[in-house]
C-alpha cells in the first residue's frame, strides 16, 4: 500500500498504525471504562438491595417523599437527550458538521435541564429536613432511622449520577469545540461515538435509579 504510507491523517497518533486501530482502541477503552463504572455504581446498588430487603416498609414510606412528577419529567428529558446524542453520532458518521453541532447543543441543553430540575428537588429535600445528618427529621417517627439510610443512599446515588452528568456536559463542550473547528469528519468521528457511549451509560444508570428510588412505594398506597 504505497499511498497508505504518504496518507497521514492529522488525527492519527504516532503509536497507532492507522485510524482503524486507533478507533478500535478508543472504543474498547470506553467499553472497559463503562465496565468499571458498572462496578462503581454496583457497590451502591448492592448496599441499596441489602437495606431495601431489610427495611422494605421504611424504604417504601421514604420513597413516597420523593417528587414523582419531577422525577418522571427528568426521565423523559434524559431519554430525549439520548436520542439527540444518537442523532449527533449519526450525523458525525455522515460528516454533517452543522447537524452534529445542533444535536450536541440539544443534548447539552437537555442535560442542563435535567440538572436544573434535579437541583429543585434537592432544594425541596433540604427545606423538608430530609438531608441526612443532625438536622434530619422524618414523620412517621418510627421509620426515621431507616428513612435516613434511604435518603443517604438517595443523595449518594443521584449525586454521583449528577456528577457524571456534569462531567458529560464537559465532554460535550469539548466535542462541540472539535465539531466547530472541523476536526470531526466522516473519516474521524470516533470521539463523538465514544462520548456518546458514555452519555448513554449515564442515562441507563438513571433508568435504574428512577424506579428503585421513586417508584418502590407506589403499589403499597
Amino acid at each position: 500500500m504505497p499511498e497508505a504510507v504518504h496518507h497521514h491523517h492529522p488525527a492519527l497518533a504516532h503509536h497507532f498504525d492507522d485510524l482503524e486501530q486507533q478507533k478500535e482502541a478508543a472504543t474498547l477503552g470506553m467499553w472497559v471504562f463503562l465496565v468499571t463504572e458498572v462496578l462503581f455504581f454496583g457497590g451502591l446498588f448492592l448496599v441499596y438491595t441489602v437495606y431495601r430487603a431489610w427495611y422494605s416498609e421504611a424504604f417504601a414510606v421514604a420513597s413516597h417523599e420523593l417528587d414523582v412528577t419531577l422525577g418522571t419529567i427528568n426521565t423523559a428529558v434524559l431519554i430525549t437527550s439520548s436520542l439527540t446524542m444518537a442523532l449527533a453520532v449519526h450525523a458525525a458518521q455522515l460528516g454533517q458538521r452543522r447537524l452534529v453541532i445542533i444535536f450536541l447543543v440539544a443534548t447539552m441543553a437537555l442535560g442542563a435541564a435535567f440538572l436544573g430540575i434535579k437541583s429543585i428537588e434537592y432544594y425541596h429535600k433540604f427545606t423538608e429536613h430530609h438531608v441526612p445528618g443532625p438536622s434530619f427529621a422524618f414523620e412517621p417517627h418510627e421509620y426515621a432511622r431507616h428513612a435516613q439510610i434511604f435518603f443517604s443512599l438517595y443523595f449518594i446515588m443521584t449525586g454521583l449520577h449528577a456528577l457524571h452528568m456534569v462531567i458529560g456536559l464537559g465532554i460535550m463542550t469539548w466535542m462541540l469545540w472539535w465539531a466547530w473547528r472541523g476536526t470531526i469528519t466522516a473519516e474521524y468521528y470516533s470521539p463523538i461515538e465514544v462520548s456518546g457511549l458514555y452519555w448513554h451509560f449515564v442515562d441507563i444508570v438513571w433508568i435504574f435509579l428512577f424506579p428503585l428510588l421513586y417508584l418502590i412505594g407506589r403499589h403499597v398506597h
Binding site: 504516532h14 477503552g29 445528618g133 432511622r145 443517604s152 443512599l153
Partner: protein
C-alpha cells in the same frame, strides 16, 4: 555527564533533559521511571514504620511507642505498603516499562492517560503523606467501620481520600494495559506467543478494572459518612458495619492477586531465561493466571469467618479458598519442572527467583491452613496471619519485583550492576525474611494477637528473633539501593541483550530509543525458544 562517549545513540533518557520533558512525557518508559521514584520513596517510608514497629516489639513492655502511636505506625505501614508499593510496584513500574516493548508496540494505547495515572497516583500519595504529617491514622489499613466512621479521632478522611484517588490510577492503568494487549500487539504476536509476563499483566488488569471501582465506592461511602454524616454503615440507624467488610474485601482480597500475579509473571520470564529452557506447560501457566484472577473474586468472605457470617456461606467460601491453591500450585510445579534439566545460570535475578519459590511456597501453604474453618477461628487476628500474608506479599511479591528489577535493569538503564553484591542482597533478604516472619508463625499459633504494642513476657525470645531478622532484612533492602544507584554512573555498559534472553524487549538497544523499535518487529516464533546448547556461549 563528564564521561567521554564518542557517539551516543539517542535513547529515551537522553533525547531531552529538561524537567518538563519528564513532567509532560507520554513515553511509557519514562512514566515507568517516574513510578519507580514514587514507589521507592513509599517503600522507604513504609520500611521506617516497620522498623519502629519491630523496635517496639523487642521488649514486652510498651516502652518506645504508646498504644496510640503504635496503632498509627502499623496502620501507616499497611496503607503505604499495600496501596503505594505492592499494588503498583510490578505493573506500574516494570509493566509500564517493558510491556509495550515485549509485545512490539511503540507505546501503550493511551499514553496521555498513562501520564494522568501517574499524576493521580502521586496526588493520592501526597494526600496520604499529608495525613501522616498531620498525625497519621489509626484504624488499621482495613478502615473497618464503625471505628473509622465514628470512633477514631485520627485523619481517616484525608487518608481515605488519598487511597480513593490512588484507586483511579490503578483503574486507568488496568484499562490502558488491557486495551494495549488487545489492540497494540506487533504483527505475528498472537495470544499464545505472548510472554507469560503479559498474560500475568492482563489477568492483573482484569482484577484492577473489576475490583478497584468497588473499593472506590466503599471508601467514598465511608468518607461521606464520616465527613457529611450520611448513614450507610451506622449501626445506630440500622446500618451494618459487616457490610463494609464485605465490600472492602471484595476488592482487597483480589488485590492480593494484583500484588502477586505480576511477580509470578516475572518469575516465568526469569526462570526460562536463566534455565535456558521453554517454560514447562506454557498454556497451563498462562491460564492459571486467569484462573487465579477469576477465583480471586469468589473468596473474599474468608476474611469474615469470625464476623458472624452464616455457616453455610462460610463453608462455601472455605471451599473456594482451598480451590485457589490449585492454579497457584500449577504455577509452582511448572516452574520447578522448568528448572528440571535446565542449564541453570546463577545470576542475581535467578537468586531472587529461588527466594520467591521458597517463600511463596510457605506463604501459599499456610494460606491453606487459614482457609480451613476450624483452624482459622484459632488463628484469626494472630501473628500467624501476619506471617502468612507477609510471606505472600513481601516474600512473594517483593522478591518477584526485585527479580524483575534486576532482570530488566540493564534494559532500563543500559548499565550492569555488581552481580556479587546482588547475590549477597538476595541471600540477606531471604535469610532476614525467614528470621523475621518464621517466628511469627509460632507466635501466632501460641496465641499472640496482632496489633498490640505489648505482649506477655514468654513471647519475648521469638519477638527478639523476629526483630533481629528485620534488621538483616533492612540491610538486604538497602544494599540494592546502593549498587543500583552506583551502576547508573559506573556500571559496565550492558549492551542490548546481556542475558542472552529471547523476547522482543531484548532486540532493541539498551536503553531503548523513544520509539522503542527502529522498525516494527514481525513475530514468527514462540516466546521461549531457547537454544539449549549455547548456554556457555552466553556466560561471557
Amino acid at each position: 555527564m563528564e564521561t567521554m562517549v564518542v557517539e551516543k545513540p539517542v535513547t529515551y533518557i537522553n533525547h531531552a533533559h529538561t524537567v518538563s520533558s519528564w513532567q509532560l512525557t507520554k513515553d511509557h518508559k519514562r512514566i515507568g521511571i517516574l513510578y519507580l521514584i514514587v514507589v521507592s520513596t513509599a517503600f522507604a517510608l513504609g520500611g521506617i514504620f516497620a522498623t519502629l514497629i519491630r523496635m517496639e516489639l523487642t521488649t514486652p513492655a510498651g516502652d518506645l511507642l504508646s498504644a496510640d502511636v503504635y496503632n498509627r505506625m502499623f496502620t501507616m505501614h499497611g496503607v503505604t505498603m499495600v496501596f503505594f508499593v505492592l499494588v503498583p510496584a510490578v505493573p506500574a513500574v516494570l509493566g509500564n516499562f517493558v510491556m509495550p516493548l515485549m509485545i512490539g508496540a511503540r507505546d501503550v494505547a493511551f499514553p496521555r492517560l498513562n501520564l494522568l495515572s501517574w499524576y493521580v497516583f502521586t496526588v493520592g500519595f501526597l494526600f496520604t503523606i499529608a495525613s501522616m504529617v498531620l498525625g497519621g491514622v489509626d484504624t488499621g489499613w482495613t478502615f473497618y467501620t464503625p471505628y473509622s466512621s465514628q470512633g477514631s479521632e485520627s485523619n481517616v478522611l484525608i487518608t481515605g481520600i488519598g487511597v480513593f484517588i490512588t484507586g483511579f490510577s490503578s483503574i486507568l492503568t488496568g484499562l490502558n494495559f488491557m486495551v494495549t494487549i488487545h489492540r497494540m500487539r506487533a504483527p505475528g504476536m498472537t495470544w499464545f506467543r505472548l510472554p507469560l509476563f503479559i498474560w500475568a499483566l492482563y489477568s492483573t488488569s482484569l482484577v484492577m478494572v473489576l475490583g478497584t471501582p468497588v473499593i472506590a465506592i466503599t471508601l467514598l461511602m465511608l468518607v461521606l459518612e464520616r465527613g457529611l454524616h450520611l448513614g450507610i454503615f451506622d449501626p445506630r440507624l440500622g446500618g451494618d458495619p459487616v457490610l463494609f467488610q464485605h465490600l472492602f474485601w471484595f476488592y482487597s482480597h483480589p488485590a492480593v492477586y494484583i500484588m502477586i500475579l505480576p511477580p509470578m509473571g516475572v518469575i516465568s520470564e526469569v526462570i526460562a531465561c536463566f534455565s535456558r529452557k521453554n517454560v514447562f506447560g506454557y498454556s497451563f501457566v498462562a491460564f492459571s493466571s486467569l484462573a487465579i484472577a477469576v477465583f480471586g473474586f469468589l473468596v473474599w468472605a474468608h476474611h469474615l469467618f469470625v464476623a458472624g457470617i452464616s455457616p453455610y456461606s462460610a463453608l462455601i467460601f472455605s471451599f473456594l479458598s482451598f480451590a485457589v491453591a490449585i492454579p497457584s500450585a500449577v504455577k509452582t510445579f511448572n516452574w520447578t519442572a522448568t528448572l528440571y534439566k535446565g542449564a541453570i545460570w546463577w545470576k542475581t535475578p535467578m537468586m531472587f527467583v529461588f527466594g520467591f519459590l521458597g517463600l511463596f511456597l510457605v506463604g501459599g501453604l499456610t494460606g491453606v491452613f487459614l482457609a480451613s474453618l476450624g483452624l482459622d477461628i484459632h488463628l484469626t487476628d494472630t501473628y500467624f496471619v501476619v506471617a502468612h500474608f507477609h510471606y505472600i506479599m513481601v516474600g512473594g511479591a517483593i522478591m518477584g519485583y526485585f527479580a524483575g528489577l534486576h532482570y530488566w535493569w540493564p534494559k532500563m538503564t543500559g548499565r550492569m550492576y555488581n552481580d556479587t553484591l546482588g547475590k549477597l542482597a538476595a541471600l540477606l533478604i531471604f535469610v532476614g525474611f525467614n528470621l523475621t516472619f518464621g517466628p511469627q508463625f509460632i507466635l501466632g499459633y501460641l496465641g499472640m494477637p496482632r496489633r498490640y504494642h505489648v505482649y506477655p513476657p514468654e513471647f519475648q525470645v521469638l519477638n527478639v528473633l523476629s526483630s533481629a531478622g528485620a534488621s538483616i532484612l533492612g540491610v538486604g533492602y538497602l544494599i540494592p539501593m546502593v549498587y543500583l544507584m552506583w551502576s547508573l554512573r559506573y556500571g559496565r555498559i550492558a549492551g542490548s541483550n546481556p542475558w542472552g534472553a529471547v523476547g522482543l524487549e531484548w532486540t532493541t538497544s539498551s536503553p531503548p530509543p523513544t520509539e522503542n523499535f527502529a522498525e516494527t518487529p514481525i513475530v514468527t516464533w514462540d516466546p521461549y525458544e531457547y537454544p539449549a546448547a549455547d548456554v556457555e556461549g552466553h556466560v561471557a
